[in-house]
Amino acid sequence: MEEDKGLAKTLVLTDNERRVLSSIINLGGTAWVEDLSSATGLPQSTVMSVLELLKSKGLVKEESIYREEYRATPQGLKALGEGFPEEKLIKLLLQHNGELEVRRARELLGEETSIAIGEARKRGAVAIQGGVIRLLKAPLEAIGEEKELLRAISEGKEPPGGREGLIESLRRRGLVEKRMRRRTRVTAVMPLAKKVLEESVTAVARLTGEDIVSGRWRTLVLKDYNVEAEPPLLFPGERHFLIRFIDLVRRIMFEMGFTEVRGPIVVEEFWNFDALFQAQDHPSREIHDTFWVQHEPGGIRAPPEVIERTRRVHETGGDSGSRGWGGSWDPRVAARLILRTQTTSVTVRALADRPMVPFRIFTVGKVYRPDAIDARHLPEFYQLDGIMSEPGMDFSRLLGMLKEFFNRLGFEKVRFKPAYFPFTEPSVEGYVWMEGKGWVEVFGAGMFRPEILEIAGVEENVGAWGIGLDRIAMKFLEVEDIRLLYTRNVNQARELSTRLRRLEHRLLGERR
């Protein structure tokens, strides 16, 4: 068994092992490693590691050969560029009529002065008398020869023979250095290598379709993976947590039999205020509380009879039984464009389409108020508005519906408080009990005033409500800063998506 296993092991060659081994044989059975790299097209580092594997399989032998090699030192390279120090000295002497004080030479040549004087004297080019250097002969022919040799060495060329003496003098001056260099030569173990090349199967990393179709998979050996290693980081494409929360709310509305409607964000004040019987001089219509849109004066996009009924209801109460607000109603004010401050602008429009009773209608969308941004306020946020009617519709049915909605959303305790909204009567503010926060105001509601029913042209009582969704979403997500709901940071959005998922599971778990 042991032997079989060993044989099988030697018989398995990876694709790279096969390439390197056959290259060695093609190069005559012995090859330098650097030559193998060009022969196989593999980087030298890959060749080296493949050779290690081949060695371990006993298919190649390796020998290292050491050779002397010369290389130019940094000083050598400097001398090549600027000239040898003694050359610089002779140039100086020529400029000073063949004589220069040593002191002065030191100023000009710096730390190279001693070497320059020493070398020049050795060559018999200068002499020193009484602190003065005198030029004896120039130029220095020998320097040209040394320079040429140094250049050859610096360029990595093999120095010509018979110059060992000169090289040695360059080495002593520190212009070249001697190193031992290792070259590696590998030899295929014959005839085993050839036999293995012919008989072995190939081990592969990835199985391909071609391997399967051709049937080659039968002879392939698939390499083991490190299956415990960390894979690359991936992130799923996720739905946004706030949209998912809104969809949870929408689902509850659908379960309770509501029809969804949509409406524009940029609206005439008419739909946002006038059709809701909000007086034209009401403070919330002012520039501090409503975003105004720059535009040319235009008309009101509403049926003429709805506009006419609105005028009459505002001025005198019309046929609604109300006293109205008095004064005269200005259609130019109603035509001003704003960003809606409440999604009631959408539901009242749906009401003006006179849906068949019974009806339950809702909308979810952004509303806008010019509030400065902080942890609790944003200039744009989400609202859900609903309206409902049925034969015998009354306030108690409205309260019953709202209680049912919040119970389904997971808030068991709901509390109602008298309130004021210009378009509902009776009006109510709703609070739900949030663990750790106490009673939190979450909605405003009421029965549409008769003035609104008259404007819309509806006979039956209609209950209406608006719910701010952001604060409830914050509770669900356990987020203290409302700005996080609209983060532009993808990593933060991913974190909150995961949080919502976990909280949903926990809530469901609690309810089971």
Binding site: P236, V266, I287, G324, P379, S396, L399, K417, P418, Y420
Partner: protein, 551 residues
Amino acid sequence: MPVVRFSRSRLEGLVGRPLGDEELGDMVFRVKGEVESLSDKQVELEVTSDRPDLLMPEGLARALRGLLGVEVGLPRLRVSGDTGIMLRVERVPSRPYIGVAVVYDYPLTGGVLEELIQFQEKLHVTVGRKRRKVAIGIHDLDKLPSPQLVYREARLDEKMTPLHTGRVMSIAETLSQTEQGREYGTISLRDDSLHPAIFSGGEIISLPPVINSDVTRLEPGTRNLLIDVTGTDREAVYKTLDLLTSTLAERRPAAIGRIKVELPTGEMEHHPLLERGTLEASVDYVNRSLGTSLTGEEAAERLERMRWEAHVDGGTIRATYPEYRLDILHPIDLVEDIAMAQGYDRLPLTPPREMLRPREDPLERLSREASELAAGMGFMEMHTFTLVPSWINEEYLPPRREPVRLVNPISAEMAQFRASMVPSLLLTLRESQGARLPLRIHEVGTVATVSQRGGVLEETLSLGMAVMDDSVSFEDIQAPVYALVRALGLRPSTEKRDHPGFIRGRSANLLVNSVLAGRVGEVSPAVLERLGIKYPVAVAELDLSKVLGFL
């Protein structure tokens, strides 16, 4: 909603007995208010803007006495005989209406002066619409130079001594040199030359709606008050005077004094009018509105506790509401008062019984489908603000459209409504450069523009997709948006078109079934550099409102 501070002992004195913290909180809750803070000395509470009568301790006490059953029905008003004061009203086009009245025996002791000024200021903001519609002046009656009052327009060179200045000035100087003059001086100024004024003898005692004169200044020793109310709406002016006088007169032994008024038409009136309204509603109407089953007597008893007077006649309730209630427009307002007296926690709750068939909005549905497809291709959904900076919005404005600009943006960062999803995507990518690349995101949202010709507003729902990586190509975004359109059973194609904000030669119109429905392209490095985005980005935009038309 307005917030006011009262002396707790004065409030309790007016109610007639001490109130526990919890009891006070509950009672205020039942009249739509909310106690913000509470100590032995002070009550701070928020009240709704439809009940300005609760902005003064006398008014709140009047309501609480009713709810507690201490005193029910219409409040009894003490009105003394003629004051001997006479007001002649001339034609004042910029501010035609005035009402005047006297309140006797209302000493401004203790903190009463502060509460009175607070009442006046809150009324200015609420019913007064910042003094435009209604403004109030309160004077020390005993300092009045003459019982002969005139309300007329004054020339700007006429002289007065504005409150707290102690020196004689022209009206022009008063308007330009006092703080109130600068803030309210233009409201009722006519032709830059005439301003309404109230004269006593020959002296100006008030320059409504700006400032009073020092002559009749209120002081801690003041005992008798003259009140003037001026404005542009007759009803609002007269009802505010009713509200003020009837509320202050709740404090014993205060009494209201009437003033004879001659109108420009020559007609005579006696102010304050103290008009009480009447309403009729059937008991059935009350019960049908609320879902209750109250008897007529029970309903009337609830109204009496809300300080109405109510009689039941067969199935009909005939009710009179007090003069200080400015919010009663319709019998439904009577119904709400019954519900409040009953207590909302004691109203029945009727659970939903009807079975109705739900319906999802088709565009909302499509937006979810598209978003799921995008997420399925690895594009993380983001959801950001719809208000964006102008420069980037205008960079990606669709051809021949204008942006929706705000008149009053809160900051340059949120100056326009986005005209395209591209700005939102790029702003997100800028904040997400710490995320691992490649980064794929998408966002669905409303975009709005105005046509250059005709100014027609267009609002649609749009899907934006973006990919950011060390290097990206046109196909990196074209392929997924094609896949998304195909998955909806539609036919995508592109049409070469150079759009601003994109690399030349690398942007195109996106067509769905050969109809223009969006854009695809590689974002111009000039935009990326301006935003500080360090990696290439390709984006696609698809108009879902258009796509819906093909489904």
